[in-house]
Every structure is written in C-alpha cells, then in structure tokens.
Symmetry: C2
Subunit: 152 residues, 2 copies
C-alpha cells in the first residue's frame, strides 16, 4: 500500500561515495598517498566520478593531495576527527528536509505560525544528532573484515 518509491529523503551517490572514499583512505592508510584508481577498484566506483567528488574534500582540508606519479590522497587528521555529518554536509549540502530549517534557513511568510516548521526542525535535529556522533573511527570499528568492500 506504500507509494511507489521516489528519491525523497534519499542520500545521493555523491554523499555515499564520499563516505566510502574517506573510509577507504582510513582503512588502507599506510602513510603513503593512495590513488583514486585504487580506491575506485576496491570500492567498485568509477574513478572519474570519484575525481569529481574529492575536490570538495580537498578544498575543505579533509584530505591532502599529492600530485604526479605515485601520488594520491591522504587523510589530514585522525579518523576520530571526522564525523559522518561533516563529510555528508560537504558533499550533499544541508541535510535539512526543507529549506526553511537548517543551516541557512529560507524564511517564509508565516514561520512563527507554521506548525510544520517544527516538524522539519525536529527531523533535522534528529538526523544531525546521528551523523554528528559517528566518526570514521567508529566505522573502522564496525567493519568486521577490512579486505571486503562496502557496497552501500
């Protein structure tokens, strides 16, 4: 009886892949740069698409790039210093379910009288509460077998 599924309330591949990328860098870190080609192979994601995702992580200082042969990317911090929320917000933008709540709320004609704004605000808080309290270190812990891929 449920409606046919749309893309409502869904995370995009950009955000999911960014997380898998960061988790891959954390998992296979040796101190040497890791190339996107390696990440792409392990994660079964197009390397060209990863190339499009990583600049925002790079510009934000979440990773450091090393150009040229044997180059690649490295995390700049300890895995425990990255929350899932940081990474998602960078690649997906605001996680709020509507534009009138969240980081840069768009005000509407009747915000103080709007019962639904309260709903969206609570949803926003609940989502952020989750993603801001999980770090890459937690994800490393939750992986039972580091050699497998994470297909989500």
């Amino acid at each position: 009886m449920t409606a046919e599924v749309g893309r409502y309330m869904k995370i995009s591949t950009k955000g999911r892949y960014a997380l898998r990328l960061m988790l891959d860098l954390a998992t296979y870190n040796t101190g040497e740069p890791i190339s996107l080609k390696d990440v792409a192979r392990r994660q079964q994601i197009s390397d060209k698409y990863l190339e499009q995702i990583i600049p925002s992580l790079n510009k934000a200082g979440y990773v450091r790039s090393v150009r040229g042969a044997q180059g690649g990317y490295l995390l700049t911090r300890d895995p425990g210093e990255y929350t899932v929320g940081m990474i998602l917000r960078l690649t997906e933008g605001d996680l709020a379910p509507v534009n009138c709540v969240g980081e840069n709320p768009v005000s509407c004609d009747n915000s103080e009288n709007c019962a639904l704004a309260k709903v969206w605000s609570r949803v926003n808080d609940a989502v952020n509460q989750v993603v801001d309290n999980i770090t890459l270190a937690d994800l490393l812990d939750w992986q039972t077998d580091y050699t497998n891929q994470y297909m989500i």
Copy 2:
C-alpha cells in the same frame, strides 16, 4: 564552504502538501465535506495538484470522499489518530536514506560487513522516531492562529 544545494535528503512537495491538506481538513472540519478548491485557496496550492495527491490518502482510508456538488473530503478518524509518519510514508514512500534499510530493504552483497548500513539504519530510526510521534492533533495545538496559512 558548503556544497551547492541539491535535493538530497529533501521532502518533496507531495509529502508537504499532503500534510497541509490533512491539517487543513482537520482545522476547518465542520462535519461537512471540504472541497479541494477550498483547501487549495487557503493553502495556496494548485487544486489540480491536490487532486493528484489525495487519491492515495483516500485509498488508504485516511479520508472519505463525497462526490458531486457540495462534495469534498472528510477525515475518517480523530486528528490524534494520524501521525505525520503515516501521511509522509503514504505519499513519499519509505523515508529511509538508502534502499538497503527501511521497510523493504534491498539486500546487497555485503550487508553484514557494511559499516555504513549501520549509519543509514540509525538515520532511518531517528527520522521515524520523530515523525511517528507527532500527530495532526499536535499540529493543531502548535498552530497559534487558525486563520492563517501554513506556507511550508
């Protein structure tokens, strides 16, 4: 520094309008059927679009329709019996952020080893926890002035 905003994690107009529609029916209920034209005027939503949204609410038995002149729609239950989650799930489908968690999870190659599935599952739980614990009666309470519109 945030990414340009997409539609990630957003509720669609369908779900938002369905909530406003149901809340309008609750707010202006007199026992007589309320026409979509009236709802559309009050909520400033296209009546033709509302016409497209209401069949699922009707088929699910959330509203009752009265055809012909002076016809319209009526809630079939007490406002306290409708949760925001019921209404959203009917019009938006599953609220899970990815397809591998939620009502009808699509299994993937490596679900038990997937650290990210745990993240999505927690997000899903958090969202549902909010929307399943707010009823139309709560929304009625939260409205300070019943004569205004709810523009969200």
